[in-house]
């Protein structure tokens, strides 16, 4: 696939595994990737809140993509604990972290590579498009929408 490097609509995406599926978010929405530190659970919060962590003296909320996107949770999904990562994101003025099973790498894609029409086939309202490459289907998560909906939910 040859790409014109001057194409302004090209964006980079971080991709990762959630269960058997692969997903992506825009690279510029991610701030850093951490080995999961100890997570402190927070009572009286919905299931998709894993808890909070101490990130250099700040308290950061960790959310679970699987609960929010409705991905089946399976204890024997083949991932080792050491493979899990937390992606710290900043959307607007809200910094939060998301637990993922395994990092997959960075993709550079042009706007037209991402299909917006078939996003309705996805069960979740938080997918803004889907990238298909050979056998790989990579939905791109709409973090802005996801975060603003959580803000209202809790």
């Amino acid at each position: 696939m040859s790409k014109d490097n001057n194409d302004l609509s090209r964006k980079q995406y971080i991709t990762f595994s959630l269960g058997q599926e692969r997903y992506g978010i825009e690279l510029n929405e991610g701030k850093e990737i951490l080995l999961p530190p100890e997570i402190t659970r927070v009572p009286n919060t919905p299931d998709y809140v894993n808890g909070v962590i101490n990130l250099r003296g700040g308290v950061i909320t960790i959310l679970d993509f699987k609960d929010i996107l409705g991905i089946e949770k399976n204890k024997n999904d083949g991932y080792k604990k050491e493979e899990k990562r937390i992606i710290i994101t900043t959307i607007g003025n809200i910094t939060s972290g998301f637990m993922v099973d395994q990092m997959q790498g960075i993709l550079t894609l042009a706007g037209e590579d991402i299909e917006k029409e078939n996003k309705n086939e996805m069960k979740s309202e938080f997918i803004k498009g889907i990238y298909t490459e050979a056998n790989n289907v990579i939905p791109i998560i709409d973090l802005k929408r996801l975060i603003s909906s959580r803000k209202e939910a809790i």
């Binding site: 402190t40 009286n44 250099r56 308290v59 809200i94 975060i147 803000k151 809790i154």
Partner: protein
């Protein structure tokens, strides 16, 4: 606002975080075995310096509410009506960032209270020289500052509100009957209810309350309406303090650490199992000749309690908490030490979490959540 108050807040925030990290590193140093005995005085010197540094940085951030209130007197002077302004709590210190964000909305709110009173004067057309009164009362509770506005200007009538709710099919008669007067007043704060138009007389006041509520919520605060002893409608504004330091009692529940601000704690006690009584199927204990509810922290925090792990124990450990109105006993697994904690917000996503007021980071970097006992009983 005073020009010299406009320090670079972003830098100040970063300094604050760095000092926080310094404190944490210092606590870790103190636990090192290598530092016993002869090196102790170096450690205590470091302790003193970091402690002072922390206090000074905190103080730079804080300025008294008087900075906002100064402007209030001008607003009253500018009014044609005779209004007496009574302010309590000028000396309460609040974070600069909060003052910057509050100054305009609060002044705006006061202006609308004043013009509400002025309008009433014109309508009533009385020649009598009655001095109207606006009182503002500010005070601090743990990690919040409360500012109450009360005025004897035009009242919003709860009967009027009830009619509006009925006419617009927002609530049924039965629902309204179950509500207290205060609950009915607080209905006007809801976005989907436009009481302004219907309650013509006090429409301006309602609009002002709604508008300042948005500003307060933008800084993670809260606002509600209350009836005062004189039956005036009181606007209560709650402002969270971002960098408050408070003394707290540390406790353990289900293996996790929690902090309870000392302002809320009356005392800690061990109580023999035999002293636990039942009233209407709820556990109670006797405390200073009163019967007070005994609440299990597992229920309060929604934790699953596995089979009573230590049913052989003959005593339980409780914290007697005072919510302002009443006492209650909170049963915990373990009572620990008291210490100064830096109160941190749980962030925008979790700031409304039930029974949790925030978090703090203790010596070894572990997070302890701060329990909010106000709704315990």
């Amino acid at each position: 606002m005073n020009k010299k108050n406009n320090l670079d807040l972003e830098n100040l925030d970063e300094i604050m975080d760095l000092v926080g990290e310094l404190l944490i590193s210092k606590s870790r140093l103190e636990t090192l075995e290598a530092f016993k005995d002869q090196d102790r005085d170096i450690l205590s010197q470091l302790d003193r310096i970091t402690g002072e540094l922390h206090d000074k940085v905190m103080k730079v951030r804080m300025i008294p509410l008087a900075n906002i209130f100064q402007e209030f007197n001008q607003i009253i002077k500018a009014s044609k009506t005779d209004i007496e302004l009574d302010i309590e709590g000028k000396d309460i210190e609040v974070d600069r960032a909060v003052i910057n964000k509050l100054a305009d909305p609060l002044s705006q709110f006061l202006k609308s209270l004043v013009s509400n009173i002025e309008e009433q004067k014109i309508q009533e057309n009385t020649k009598e020289e009655i001095t109207e009164e606006i009182s503002i009362n500010a005070y601090k509770t743990g990690n919040e500052v409360i500012i109450e506005f009360e005025d004897d200007g035009k009242m919003i009538y709860s009967d009027q509100l009830k009619e509006i709710m009925l006419e617009n099919n927002i609530l049924s008669k039965e629902e309204l009957e179950k509500m207290s007067k205060e609950e009915i007043y607080n209905l006007i704060l809801k976005d989907n209810i436009s009481a302004e138009k219907a309650a013509e007389d006090a429409g301006q006041k309602i609009a002002a309350v709604k508008s300042i509520k948005k500003d307060i919520e933008a800084i993670n605060g809260d606002l509600y309406l209350e009836l005062s002893e004189d039956n005036n409608l009181k606007t209560v504004i709650i402002i969270p303090l971002k960098f408050a330091i408070t003394e707290a009692l540390m406790v353990k529940v289900d293996g996790d650490l929690f902090a309870i601000p000392l302002e809320m704690v009356s005392e800690t006690k061990r109580i023999p199992n035999s002293k636990i009584k039942k009233v209407k199927n709820e556990d109670v204990i006797n405390y200073r000749e009163n019967t007070i509810p005994l609440i299990d922290s597992y229920d309060f925090l929604n934790f699953n309690k596995e089979v009573e792990s230590d049913s052989s124990a003959s005593e339980i450990e409780v914290v007697i908490v005072n919510t302002g109105k009443k006492n209650a006993a909170l049963r915990v697994d373990e009572l620990l030490n008291q210490q100064d904690i830096v109160v941190k917000s749980l962030g925008e996503l979790l700031s409304n979490t039930k029974n949790i007021a925030g978090a703090t980071i203790i010596g070894d970097g572990e997070i302890a959540l701060i329990i909010d006992v106000r709704e315990i009983a």
